[in-house]
Symmetry: C3
Subunit: 173 residues, 3 copies
């Protein structure tokens, strides 16, 4: 059983940088699980920017869907695995399944790993539920799903942080 650290926060609030710093303390080999797909120019630019910042100590695994399998498949290989981010993973799954209950079942599979994984995990998510209720129904569904997933993951994690303006606030651990 190893440590699980969960980090949530708003857009560009310093989540990834905090995650890289906390994960970096475990030392190489460092595993980075990217759930985003370079589907458009904006995302491709963001992925490239993050990769350049992390540098060569990190080995990247791209996995938009089978996150639990990717973690299990590399268990014990890395000193730590950083997952960035949960929100994009949920987006990918919701678009694939079109079924909230199936996505929640995958989140449950992921949290069940925390207590058995030999490799410490650092997971990054987004806070998306503190704005006005979206008019779009899919956006409302996603907002509720993201809130529920964050709650499940935080509950199963050892340490939890929320970031504001690049500064972390410890919520648990």
């Amino acid at each position: 059983m190893s440590k699980t650290i969960f980090i949530t926060g708003g857009a560009r609030s310093g989540k990834s940088l905090l995650a890289e710093r906390l994960a970096g303390e475990f030392g190489a080999p460092l595993g980075y699980v990217a759930t985003g797909r370079a589907g458009d120019a904006e995302m491709a630019e963001r992925i490239a920017r993050h990769q350049a910042r992390r540098g060569t100590a990190w080995q990247t695994i791209e996995e938009p869907f089978a996150l639990a399998e990717a973690i299990r498949g590399h268990d014990g290989y890395f000193n730590v695995m950083l997952v960035d981010c949960i929100t994009l993973w949920l987006t990918n799954l919701l678009l694939k399944y079109d079924d909230v209950a199936k996505v929640v079942a995958d989140v449950r599979d992921l949290t069940n790993l925390f207590s058995v994984s030999k490799t410490p995990l650092v997971l990054v998510s987004n806070e998306v539920g503190m704005g006005i209720v979206p008019e779009n129904r899919l956006a409302r569904t996603f907002r509720d799903l993201a809130g529920e997933a964050n709650e499940m993951i935080a509950k199963a994690s050892d340490e939890v942080y929320v970031t504001f303006a690049g500064l972390p606030l410890k919520l648990k651990g």
Copy 2:
């Protein structure tokens, strides 16, 4: 004079569960004031889910508008009254009055109760002001109103919490 606890947070961030836990500590009889109306399938499903979770120790009062009157009318009857939620109550009032000042006056009536109510109160609200400024004017009006109401209620409360990912952060008390 009794204790007033105020809980705010994003969508599905664990506000209601925290409120039920804190209110539950006062012991039965437990009063639950529901301000939402099962006007559509989404809301009906949410109400049913929350009711099932609370179980039979709670007695539900449905009051979409006259919140202060409902609390006054049951004063001393319950060991605690949980109001879920302020945001839906504000929505109902704004749609009814179409006048922010009248809604704010009702919020003032509510906060004036805190120091005289014999029954402790636990109030749940939502944080809706941390997203991009909405393009829709009514949404902007509501966002400002919700912020102002939260501030008024927090000021008049003895304990205040904000929740993230199911985890509470104490702001006051």
Copy 3:
């Protein structure tokens, strides 16, 4: 070298009131740098309301664009300068330049002032990145810019607060 205090938070969450209270402790003469422009009725009403609340101890400087220059130009004149707010300043610059990199360069100019300004600064910003990803591309660009600017300013500040429901939470200092 003087103290810099940075305050972020959601809409109507008590940011300006906290800023005025913290700045007021430095005593008159108090400088207030307003970055908003009374371009429409909503904004004009908000500016008038804030001015009425501050009272006559404050001297107002209106500067929608050249914020660093305005601060430098008054250095040593006031006991403190309160900037309200960074978010409107970023909006003005983004609309003027249509170039995120140029706006970020202006933010860098501003933060470079913090360590050399003789007058203490209190800066107010908004948290806009905790809602659903906006569908509008300009809104997404602004949301990312605001997050990056808040992070840069927080890093260069001595004290940082985030407000919820009128209550401050200290993040740094």
